[in-house]
Symmetry: C2
DNA sequence: TTGATTACTTACTAGTAAGTTAGTAGTTTT
DNA sequence: AAAACTACTAACTTACTAGTAAGTAATCAA
């Protein structure tokens, strides 16, 4: 892994642990054992770091989608939810949960990336729910897009609230979410 | 309204617009037309501002709860959700949505306050849902506490996502949330 | 009337933030 | 072998951060 990728990975963890506005070039340069200017060489401005992190997340989600594409929709959704559960076990929230509260303080280029990432995720989830309902794998009322909003929102908040309200919070919300969707 | 209350109110809006780590004493002193030391006179450390904001939110929610106490539970829930809708119209997210992502960067005294605020809200919502279900006003499966987590999470995320995904997002999630709970 | 308290001000500090400039090894290209 | 490129470092700047110390005018209590 090259330096640029190492920085991106480290920044990703910092953003999802502390938030975009709470990490600095020092938090990147010190663990990497380089000078602050070395980070600026790869990423001239802080927004460039943020954009690289979001781009990486979009690419990785693309890969997951491909890997899951042959599974039935209920299992795809479970895989999707387990992605969040793995984050939870590492004490990390999701990128949207971290960046949405700071949205108005982000440079425009980052705002656009965050929006694109959200739309990308929602598009996939909407299609997954719609197809799954057609096959009788899911049971829910209303438009699939609206349900996708609620599903994504539950997983996002579950990561947030797990930190604040206690370590069983994610699991409780996860179980209830799936039981709601799968029940006849 | 005295200076201390004005500062608290301004800080509340800044936290819910930009996040706790993205606002400074300057953001308080400039609009108040006082020097930075004047803010420090009322709130020696930044955490003291944060704690005052959370305390105010807890007190105000207490007042709302009292005002709603004679309403049937479905109307109490609607009032609760409309509280979030008013925030949405002002472009503000809720305190939990703002502070939970930054939770690990907050001083311990603030972490405790955030947790207390969350538990307070969840306790009320759990009781509201439980009583409402007993009376046949709500229809949902599982424990009332778990359902309360999902309801709170939906409103919290609806405010976050409304910024990122477009201005109809809150309304869509609001409608779906209430329709899910109220449907027979 | 004196003394204390309240609500500030001016002026400052030490630390940190993102970002820049010029220079330099080591490698790659021509 | 010369030129160009890559990946840095050393040293710096400007701007802002939370926080402090000492002083002051106005009000309030004894």
């Amino acid at each position: 892994m090259n330096t640029r990728d190492k920085i991106t990975r480290l920044a990703d963890q910092l953003i999802r642990k502390q938030g975009y506005n709470a990490f600095s070039y020092k938090d990147l340069s010190e663990p990497m054992q380089v000078r602050n200017a070395a980070i600026h060489y790869h990423f001239p401005a802080k927004a460039d770091v943020g954009i690289a992190v979001i781009d990486k997340a979009i690419r990785e989600f693309d890969e997951y989608k491909q890997q899951w594409s042959d599974l039935p929709e209920n299992e795809q959704l479970e895989q999707f939810a387990q992605m969040y559960m793995r984050n939870c076990k590492q004490g990390l929230i999701c990128l949207m949960g971290s960046l949405a509260p700071d949205y108005l303080t982000l440079p425009e280029a980052m705002q656009m990336k965050v929006r694109a990432m959200g739309q990308d995720l929602l598009d996939w989830l909407t299609y997954c729910l719609e197809q799954g309902r057609k096959k009788g794998l899911f049971s829910f009322s209303g438009e699939a897009y609206d349900r996708a909003l609620l599903v994504a929102s539950t997983l996002l908040s579950a990561l947030l609230l797990n930190r604040v309200l206690g370590e069983d919070t994610f699991q409780r919300m996860y179980d209830q979410l799936l039981s709601d969707l799968l029940k006849k």
